[in-house]
């Protein structure tokens, strides 16, 4: 039904566009008046008036219709003698009624359900009919209004401008509201988690084993169980593992990325640059899961083999393998960003250095890099936040056990990996285990936010230098 309505609105709008365009043209010719805007703007004006109010109404209606119908139906069911103790049972009855209406319910149907299903059908019909009537009413009203405006030779160009500005504003508002929504959902779930688990136990605990809290409703946890859970959600091993793997990744990515950035910006001929820069950037386009199985199936076993030859015990899932591959994944970020930053150092600075007799490498080391340093730091920090947020490689190559270790040959785990682990498989949504994923997500979000902020500040500071 909705699709048909949208289709009708579209068709109607398009025909109004041509109508408005030709109508104003004929008016201007016939009455020999100067239009306040080009004829096509009158067309746009009609289109916008015809479509936006109707579509907005349709959207709002579609959002609220199920909620309203649901409350009405549950009430009628209750009036007919249906009994339910809490919200969940009420929902169940509503779903049953809906299924009966759609003909997909195969259980026993008693008289209450039957009556309610009939009522449901009635309301659905009523709502749909009134929706169609109202939408056509709105379209007619807004079209009449806008046609009247057009006949008065309004400043359609300015009006279109105002409406478009409004549309763009709403779009950006949606983007912001969605982000806020995500943050708040993280925040609220985390607060639920922290009402069960003390925040200090979480932040400073050194043991992470959330399996202990599996399938236990937070509201029905006993005091004894709570005591046991106290040290199951220690954040320290995760942040340690995350930082450790990110650190290994940066050890790989920063020198190689920076040096290749310098080569690209300062030494590579145009021809070499044209070929090799896209190749490096392809690295950034490889899906991380591909890096992941490369790390797990090739690099991990290779390290184990090498380790064995030296008489070392290397876990086949090691922080080293994951960090190394993650570093390779991040190289293009560092290299591409530092290449850009180095390129934006003015040539005049290099000339000044050459002119006092400095060689190319002296110039790069003492003038170009110091001048580009804030930007380079910014690119490194962005790479760090990328490393911290990376999931797939670690899931596949670094292991799942939350070891608190600084031995790169052992397996370790990260925040993101644990979020995946917690949310995979059957969940009890109220259990502290599931909620801990939100707490982890929030912590991760804050960490990357802070890093991004510092990175942007560094980049901004760099910009001020030359402008």
């Amino acid at each position: 039904m909705n699709i048909v309505l949208i289709f009708l609105i579209t068709i109607f709008s398009i025909s109004l566009f041509f109508y408005g365009k030709s109508k104003t043209k004929t008016i201007s010719i016939k009455d020999n008046i100067k239009l306040n805007a080009l004829p096509k703007f009158y067309g746009y004006y009609l289109v916008l008036w015809c479509s936006i109010p109707a579509l907005v109404f349709l959207l709002v209606w579609s959002l609220f219709e199920p909620v309203i119908i649901k409350s009405i139906i549950i009430e009628t069911a209750a009036n007919q003698g249906a009994t339910f103790n809490d919200k969940n049972e009420a929902n169940l009855i509503y779903e049953k009624i809906k299924a009966i209406h759609l003909g997909t319910y195969f259980g026993d149907i008693d008289s209450i359900l039957k009556e309610s299903a009939l009522a449901y059908a009635k309301f659905i019909n009523l709502f749909t009919n009134s929706k169609v009537v109202l939408i056509f009413g709105i379209i007619i009203a807004s079209v009449v209004y806008s046609l009247k405006k057009i006949k008065n030779n309004n400043k359609a160009r300015d009006d279109v401008e105002v409406i478009l500005k409004g549309l763009l504003f709403v779009s950006s508002l949606i983007a912001i509201l969605t982000t806020l929504g995500i943050i708040f959902s993280l925040l609220f779930e985390s607060i639920k988690f922290f009402s069960v688990i003390n925040i200090f136990d979480y932040l400073f605990g050194t043991n992470w084993s959330p399996q202990r809290a599996f399938v236990r409703d937070a509201s029905s946890i006993t005091v004894a169980e709570l005591e046991e859970l106290k040290d199951a959600f220690g954040f320290i091993p995760l942040i340690a593992g995350t930082s450790f793997i990110a650190f290994i990744a940066m050890l790989v990515a920063v020198p190689i990325g920076l040096f290749s950035g310098i080569y690209m910006a300062e030494y590579a001929s145009i021809k070499v640059r044209r070929i090799s820069k896209p190749i490096i950037e392809i690295l950034a386009g490889i899906p991380t899961v591909v890096y992941g199985f490369f790390a797990a199936l090739t690099v991990g076993p290779f390290f184990r083999q090498v380790g064995e030859n030296f008489g070392l015990t290397v876990s086949s899932e090691s922080a080293l393998a994951a960090g190394l591959i993650m570093g390779i994944m991040i190289i293009p970020y560092v290299s591409s960003l530092s290449d850009d930053v180095i390129n934006s150092v003015p040539q005049s600075l290099r000339d000044g250095s050459y002119a006092v007799g400095a060689t190319k490498s002296e110039t790069i080391k003492q003038v170009v890099i110091p001048a580009a340093l804030p930007g380079i730091i910014g690119s490194v920090l962005l790479a760090v936040s990328r490393a911290i947020g990376e999931t797939m490689i670690v899931v596949m190559a670094a292991g799942l056990a939350a070891n608190l270790t600084i031995n790169p040959l052992e397996s370790t785990t990260t925040i993101t990996t644990q979020i995946v682990m917690i949310l995979v498989g059957d969940q009890e949504f109220d259990s502290p285990k599931t909620q801990s994923a939100f707490a982890l997500g929030l912590t991760l979000f804050i960490a990357t936010l802070v890093l991004n902020y510092i990175a942007q500040r560094a980049v901004k500071k760099y910009r001020e230098k030359y402008d």
Binding site: D351, A355, V356, G357, P370
Partner: protein, 253 residues
């Protein structure tokens, strides 16, 4: 008449397929200011960039012919460019101090060439260079401030001090006043007058008045060719070439 410091013979410069200089024969006298004038794109800057081999920076640039300093072939492939540039300093159109402190801006060159081994020697070089560029009094109390915090005219004098710091014999100036206001320009011109006692100076300029004020010798370039060269007074009062006459009187350019 002073000795000839730099001598170019049949100097040609190409940027890719485009020829920028055609058989330029120009002698520059020691401890004298030579001004190069001419419309934009006529090859003045290209010429002075041949003297310190700055054209090497541009990949597609090719220089043929002969250019000598004190009998040494500058265009020799095996020449040590670093030591050439130590002897031939350059000041650019736009002041380009490094984003370092005033002190580090000056000490950069001497450090690279291993001059001023001790801190006090380096201090001395910095002080002398700043004094010679008439900037010392203005900045002596704030040597750690960034060079970019100075005004445009001060920045340009800082760049001159930077060029002087490695004790060159020749200073090339590529429109050094084009980004400056008249007061700063007057200061730089005064400075050039002072510097010519010690250094051989070549200045590219778009201002005829400036050429008249600062130079002893003037060369007029047009479309990559050196049209006329001679004493500044003669060039501006009584040029041999009709084109020179037209240019300095503002009939084209």
């Amino acid at each position: 008449m002073n000795n000839i410091k730099i001598k170019s013979k049949n100097l040609n410069v190409y940027y890719g397929d485009k020829q920028a200089l055609f058989d330029v024969n120009l002698d520059l006298n020691e401890k004298e200011v030579t001004a190069l004038i001419g419309p934009s794109g006529c090859g003045k800057s290209t010429f002075i960039r041949c003297i310190n081999r700055m054209n090497d920076v541009i990949d597609i640039c090719k220089v043929t012919g002969n250019i000598e300093m004190d009998g040494m072939n500058i265009n020799d492939k095996d020449l040590d460019v670093v030591s050439l540039r130590e002897r031939v300093g350059m000041v650019f159109q736009k002041p380009n101090p490094f984003p370092k402190s005033i002190y580090d801006n000056i000490s950069y060159g001497p450090k690279i060439h291993g001059k001023g081994e001790t801190k006090s020697e380096l201090d001395q070089i910095v002080e002398n260079s700043l004094k010679k560029s008439a900037l010392w009094e203005e900045v002596k109390d704030r040597l750690d401030e960034p060079g970019t915090s100075l005004s445009g005219g001060q920045q340009q004098r800082l760049c001159i001090a930077r060029a002087i710091s490695v004790n060159p014999q020749v200073i090339l100036m590529d429109e050094p006043c084009s980004a400056l206001d008249p007061i700063a320009t007057a200061k730089i011109e005064e400075l050039i007058d002072e510097l010519k006692k010690t250094y051989t100076i070549v200045i590219v300029t778009h201002s005829m008045a400036q050429a008249v004020r600062v130079s002893q010798k003037t060369g007029f370039f047009h479309l990559g060719k050196l049209i006329e060269v001679g004493n500044t007074e003669k060039i501006f009062k009584n040029p041999d070439n009709k084109m020179t006459q037209d240019y300095i009187t503002g009939r084209f350019g």
